[in-house]
């Protein structure tokens, strides 16, 4: 039963029927009796002080139960501070508690909360709240915030300012071929289909249940318990389904704290469903970036220097940092000298957060465009240039990569795409009147490991229930964990029920960093080992068992539903028989949550290659992506269908990043002008071609017992560069600021 094949079975989603019939219940769909509704009032200035708030008219609206402002908001228990990582403390990228003072730090900040019996009453009353401000001049751009610039040493304990070798000398060496260019990415907003939302229900004044759309039930539990001064076990978080997240539901945002406090004050359960409009300010976004890449290479294409200087924004009430250079250039290519510099500017714009491959995604865009520019300067094929600089060892940690198969990804991708037929000359390829461009880029994302525990209940009828407080963001986690449970426990797929999304279950980490499959999979593996041991203990004491008096250490799973002597499989016993003879209906085990084992002798990173074709009408130059081939090397692929969907989703999001997505801001007020799905252009079906996904490599058992390095984020890395490179090949015009809209190609 050991899962050693590269690609696991192509199961259909275990929750598919629930989803297509509408029976899957999302957070704000839970029915809680007497539930009231919260509606916020937002600041329309970016910086200043609230001088007065008139709430009488709002309070007079029938059905209004409470109007909260900084003047009457009860205090949260714990001083705001940064909550880092996914280890259990929870994440608050916005560190200031809502309505905690008269300060305005960004436009769109919640300045009041109305709670009313119906959503219409709450919304109407909120429109009657009048706020007066003493505005101050806001800082809205990098240029304006230059004097507040910060160069953080570390991001989540990882050094981000890198100096290896002597970049300065190499960049001055006249014998080398050099390029230096600056690349810009705009603010991007996650926009999952399901907006964030919470129902807060106090069962008594010490017991709170939250139905919260989150990527981290245990984190929400921890933060709410400490913020409200409650015992951890008295805070329950329930989230069986998430309708997409991409990072925007990883941290606890202000609406969650407002719902909990609003419910406490109003004395009834309160539902807060963040509007699509407020998803652009109240649930994070990807910061805009400005990245300058300087490359120097020998005439045969060997990199001698890579310098990656990146500048990003953060908010005055948070410290979230998008580490573009260290997470792309810091891992990608072999070079004797590498320098990464990261600068963060605090501006009066709402708080940014992780968005699918934070750092890696904009970082690989800039690096992989620069590599394309270098290939052209060298008159070298872009794939050949990358092969010439392939890093067998981690370029800044100097340890070998485990199970790295990037060369095969390039090779298979090029073959499937037909790359050898590419004419490198610009504007040389045509389809009728349309310009055709072919571009490629490398994808990469680290393998992250966190800690988790799992509970297994095995029954005498050979069915099993497995529980972990993990999450399914719409990614197919239910299915993948059911498959892993089936393989690891030795229970048929159809007889496994995997349960997640409840803080009552054993610990699951944040569903972020593409870690869930590996981390929770490892916990399932550990629980399976415990289960087989527990069954063995029953069997060896049972004189009717073929395993009677065998040493426990010699026993393991030998077939589906059977344990036996691993070296002599003629002696085995079935789970059902062991339980029946022991007079047991079921047996229960739970693995232990412990810090993940660190392997410092190797580096663990996933890899991939994207190849794409674009077609462009030279007169009316809107870019149409017509073909994508993506080959990924991510260790074991647990679930063939959902893994392919993950890569297709990442590529689709990358098409949006490359061509259409941009959250623009009004330069006067600092408010976003793009705040709905008509104006924020995610790709439509008509924008997305057939995406050909393949996987190469081997299970990475040096990383974890599942062999899986994770799939959620790598698909979006590199794809924007592949498209930008294809656009250049088609048109001869290099656009270095995303998105590549028609106006930039006229």
């Amino acid at each position: 039963m050991s899962a050693t094949t590269l690609i696991g079975p192509a199961r259909s989603r275990v929750d598919g029927r629930l989803k297509v019939t509408g029976a899957a219940k999302y957070s704000v769909e839970f029915e809680v009796p007497k539930c009231a509704y919260g509606w916020t009032v937002e600041s329309n200035i970016a910086k200043g002080k609230i001088t007065a708030i008139e709430t009488k008219a709002a309070q007079a609206v029938p059905g209004v139960l409470a109007v909260l402002t900084h003047l009457n908001m009860p205090k949260f228990k714990e001083a705001p501070k940064k909550e880092g990582g996914g280890g259990g403390a929870g994440i608050r990228n916005e560190e200031r508690f809502p309505l905690s003072d008269d300060g305005v730090y960004y436009a769109g900040q919640y300045v009041a909360l109305v709670v009313a019996e119906t959503i219409e009453q709450a919304r109407h009353a909120a429109s009657l709240v009048r706020v007066s401000y003493a505005p101050e001049e806001p800082l809205l751009t990098m240029e304006a915030a230059v004097r507040k610039a910060d160069k953080p040493k570390k991001n989540n304990d990882t050094p981000v300012q890198i100096n290896k070798g002597d970049v300065a000398t190499a960049l001055k060496d006249a014998s080398l071929v050099k390029i230096e260019q600056t690349y810009i990415t705009p603010t991007e907003t996650h926009n999952p289909i399901e907006m964030s939302g919470t129902i807060a229900h106090w069962e008594d004044d010490q017991k709170l249940t939250l139905y919260d759309a989150t990527q981290f039930v245990k984190g929400v539990q921890n933060i709410l318990a400490r913020s409200l001064g409650l015992e951890l076990e008295n805070v329950r978080i329930i989230c069986p389904f998430v309708g997409g997240a991409f990072g925007c539901k990883g941290a606890v945002w202000m609406h969650v704290l407002l719902a909990a406090m609003g419910s406490k004050v109003a004395g009834v359960p309160v539902k807060m469903h963040v509007t699509r409009r407020n998803m652009f300010v109240g649930a994070g976004h990807r910061t805009p970036t400005r990245q300058t890449l300087s490359l120097a290479a020998t005439k045969d294409g060997k990199l001698q220097a890579i310098q990656h200087v990146s500048e990003t924004l953060t908010s005055p009430v948070g410290q979230f940092t998008e580490s573009c250079g260290s997470r792309s250039t810091g891992v990608m290519y072999e070079s004797p000298s590498i320098r990464v510099e990261e600068t963060v500017y605090p501006v009066n714009v709402s708080t940014p957060t992780f968005m699918r491959a934070p750092g890696e995604c904009p970082g690989t865009y800039a690096l992989e465009c620069a590599m394309d520019e270098l290939a052209i300067a060298l008159k070298m094929d872009p794939v050949a240039l990358r092969l010439a600089n392939h890093a067998d060892n981690h370029p800044t940690k100097n340890v070998p990569f485990s199970a790295k198969h990037l060369r095969e990804a390039y090779q298979l991708g090029a073959e499937k795409f037909g790359w050898s037929k590419r004419n490198p000359e610009l504007r040389s390829m045509r389809d009728g009147d349309l310009l055709v461009g072919w571009g490629m880029a490398t994808a990469t994302y680290p393998a992250h490991k966190m800690s988790a525990a799992a509970k297994v209940i095995l029954r005498a009828d050979n069915s099993a229930t497995v529980q972990c407080a993990t999450h399914d963001l719409g990614t197919g986690a239910y299915t993948a964990f059911t498959q892993i449970s089936s393989e690891q426990l030795g229970v048929p797929f159809e007889k496994v029920t995997f349960e997640l999304g409840k803080s009552d279950f054993p610990f699951g980490p944040v569903a972020g960093g593409s870690n869930s499959t590996g981390t929770v999979g490892t916990a399932i593996h550990e629980a399976a080992v415990l289960l087989h041991k527990a069954l063995a203990e029953l069997a060896v004491k049972d004189s009717k068992s073929p395993l009677y008096n065998t040493k426990i250490e010699e026993i393991g799973m030998v077939a589906e539903g059977r344990i036996g002597i691993v070296t002599d499989q003629t002696k085995s016993d079935s789970y059902a028989d062991i339980l029946k003879r022991a007079g047991r209906d079921s047996i229960e085990v739970q693995s232990e949550q412990k810090p993940p084992e660190e392997n410092k002798k190797q580096a663990f990173q996933s890899w991939g290659a994207h190849f794409c074709e674009v077609k462009i009408d030279p007169l009316l130059p809107r870019v149409q992506v017509t073909r994508v081939v993506s080959v990924m090397n991510c260790g074991r692929i647990v679930s063939a269908k959902t893994a392919r969907s993950q890569i297709m989703g990442g590529v689709t999001m990358g098409i949006g990043m490359a061509l259409t997505e941009e959250t623009s801001y009004d330069p006067a007020t600092g408010l976003p002008v793009i705040r709905n799905l008509a104006d924020y252009h995610v790709p439509t079906n008509a924008d997305v071609p057939e995406i050909d996904v393949s996987f190469v490599g081997e299970p990475d058992f040096a990383f974890n017992p599942i062999g899986a390095r994770g799939m959620g984020e790598i698909g979006i890395t590199g794809i924007a560069a592949a498209i930008a490179n294809a656009v250049y090949h088609a048109t001869g015009k290099r656009v270095r600021d995303l998105p590549i809209t028609p106006d930039k190609l006229i």
Partner: protein
């Protein structure tokens, strides 16, 4: 969202009298724009009169047997798919299908589409303090703000918003006539006079009076209406408003001499922009790409761009050329 009353009109006359009886009354058709704007707090009617069930959804031949009359409540999808429209006015069908999404087209009515309000960010979101259209005298936030989608023709210092409709551009090229009913009876408004330029009163989008109901749209006979094309340039392949669009129709003699031509532009002005200067330049000339480009230059000579939308001037010229080469059958 403001509290409002809701009632359903039994017939057109009752709808019209209800409109005049109480201030701040609005008709509710498909609701695809009005309800959105009410939720945003831009529209705050005290009373909604639902006209959705009035018998005004037919598409039928005019008595002359050539033109077509479209009821104001005909759904955009139904009009676009109607055999008479597809045969005689394919331009209108193309424009409708280029707009919005199937779900929206299934709800949106022809009358509502005529009344569709601008997508200017500063109008659509009351968080912005400045908008002369929403709040006369407050200023124009777009003028020095983010103005990528804004007007390049016919705008004023008070307002640089555009009309977002695709249908309206086709109607302008087809010289549609809007039939309206008021307390004193019916009247007709040529499409060219229906929408307004912003001038000093950008808060008034159209010349429909406050007590009038749109009942139908007449499409007059137009022999060359089938030689037409709706070209929409947008930022993504589907479900996006036009950054520039062109409705074009042409008639040529055997020697390729242009004997009749209609051109209207979308996405460039506060109203669907009939390109009369370009049309005049083209009349009597031989169809040719250079001639088309010269006509486009003439039409856009008066265009003025702002920080983020100057690209529309060249894009509009190119779009005119492409639309004309398409209708003239000159594309490969």
């Amino acid at each position: 969202m403001n509290p409002f009353t809701y009632s359903r009109a039994a017939d057109a006359a009752e709808a019209v009298s209800a409109l005049s009886a109480k201030p701040h009354t609005k008709f509710l058709g498909g609701g695809t724009n009005l309800i959105d704007l009410m939720k945003m707090g831009v529209e705050t009617p005290a009373q909604l009169i639902d006209i959705g069930r009035l018998p005004m959804a037919q598409v039928e031949e005019l008595p002359d047997g050539k033109g077509i009359r479209i009821g104001a409540l005909a759904r955009n999808s139904d009009v676009a798919e109607h055999a008479l429209i597809q045969q005689r006015y394919p331009l209108l069908s193309q424009a409708l299908l280029a707009g919005a999404s199937p779900q929206l087209r299934n709800m949106a009515t022809v009358g509502g589409n005529l009344m569709q309000r601008t997508r200017c960010y500063y109008f659509y979101d009351p968080a912005f303090p400045q908008c002369n259209k929403r709040n006369p005298g407050s200023g124009c936030g777009a003028l020095k703000g983010y103005n990528r989608i804004h007007a390049i023709l016919g705008q004023s210092e008070q307002c640089i918003a555009t009309n977002p409709s695709d249908m309206n551009v086709a109607l302008a090229a087809l010289e549609a006539v809007i039939r309206v009913q008021g307390p004193k009876g019916e009247r007709e408004i040529p499409i060219a006079d229906f929408h307004r330029l912003p001038g000093t009163t950008p808060n008034v989008d159209t010349n429909l009076k406050e007590d009038e109901l749109i009942t139908a749209v007449d499409l007059p006979a137009m022999p060359f209406a089938t030689r037409s094309h709706y070209l929409k340039v947008r930022d993504r392949a589907s479900y996006a408003f036009a950054i520039v669009s062109v409705a074009a129709a042409i008639e040529m003699d055997a020697g390729k001499k242009i004997t009749a031509v209609r051109i209207a532009l979308g996405g460039v002005a506060h109203k669907p922009w009939r390109a009369k200067k370009a049309e005049q330049q083209l009349m009597g000339k031989d169809a040719d790409e250079k001639v088309f480009r010269a006509a486009a230059e003439a039409e856009l000579a008066a265009a003025k761009g702002y920080e983020h939308n100057s690209f529309k001037i060249e894009l509009a010229k190119r779009s005119i050329v492409r639309a004309l080469t398409t209708v003239a059958g000159m594309n490969s």
